[in-house]
Symmetry: C2
Subunit: 140 residues, 2 copies
């Protein structure tokens, strides 16, 4: 648990900061091309995989459930998302992507994959090495 302050570690920390910065810039830009904010794009991405209770969306986004109401409201007003009852528990509302929502999410994913193209500069062996190092770093 000793905080590392050696130059090598600091350099890696710096590089990770740059990755984070670039990731965000590209994510938000891709979202903006579909007139979505970053938060809206993340929620739409989740819902394009499966219908999800409001509360669970909040846990995945690490924010308060009350915020999800507004984000889903705005997505619903644009016809990208709809609220459905949960047959098993009448307190629960399932947010689900509409047809158009899934199409938008697919286009978003495509432009994101394109934005993350920097990985294309690495060989397969290098990508494997990067994957393993990131997994170890994340404790997976």
């Amino acid at each position: 648990m000793t905080p590392r302050t050696d130059p090598l570690t600091l350099e890696v920390v710096e590089l990770i900061g740059e990755v984070v910065s670039r990731y965000h810039a590209e994510y938000d830009e891709a979202a903006a091309q579909h007139a979505l904010t970053g938060a809206q794009a993340r929620v739409l991405g989740l819902l394009s995989v499966e219908a999800t209770p409001m509360r669970r969306i909040a846990r995945k986004l690490k924010c308060e459930p009350s915020n999800i109401t507004g984000i889903v409201d705005r997505l619903e007003a644009r016809g990208l998302v709809e609220r459905r009852p949960d047959p098993a528990d009448r307190r629960v509302k399932l947010a689900a992507a509409t047809e158009e929502g899934r199409r938008t999410a697919a286009k978003l994913r495509a432009s994101l994959d394109f934005a993350r193209e920097p990985l294309g500069g690495l060989s397969e062996d290098e990508r494997t090495a990067l994957r393993d190092l990131l997994k170890r770093m994340l404790g997976n």
Copy 2:
């Protein structure tokens, strides 16, 4: 420029997303421990290195200059930052960290380095490999 969709690349993209998510959670948590928002912590970090014109802060944060006014206002109200005239150009205001601001920034950096401790799980060779892969990925 061909978007890669092979499983290995998608796995690395996924892992980078997780790094970004964890980086943000830990950054915001560290900032909150000093009653700062993420944006305030970033600006304070910049100013603890050197006094900076408002406009330049905006460029570094990739946001509009008008936003910096409010962020610096709030930091100034707490005595962490002050505005100084620029002797060379009377239009320019230099934002600079106060003594207390530098102390807060130092504590923030320390808790951030601690938060980024996951790198401690990697050997020196592994950190070197990670550094080189990230540099190649970022095009450095």
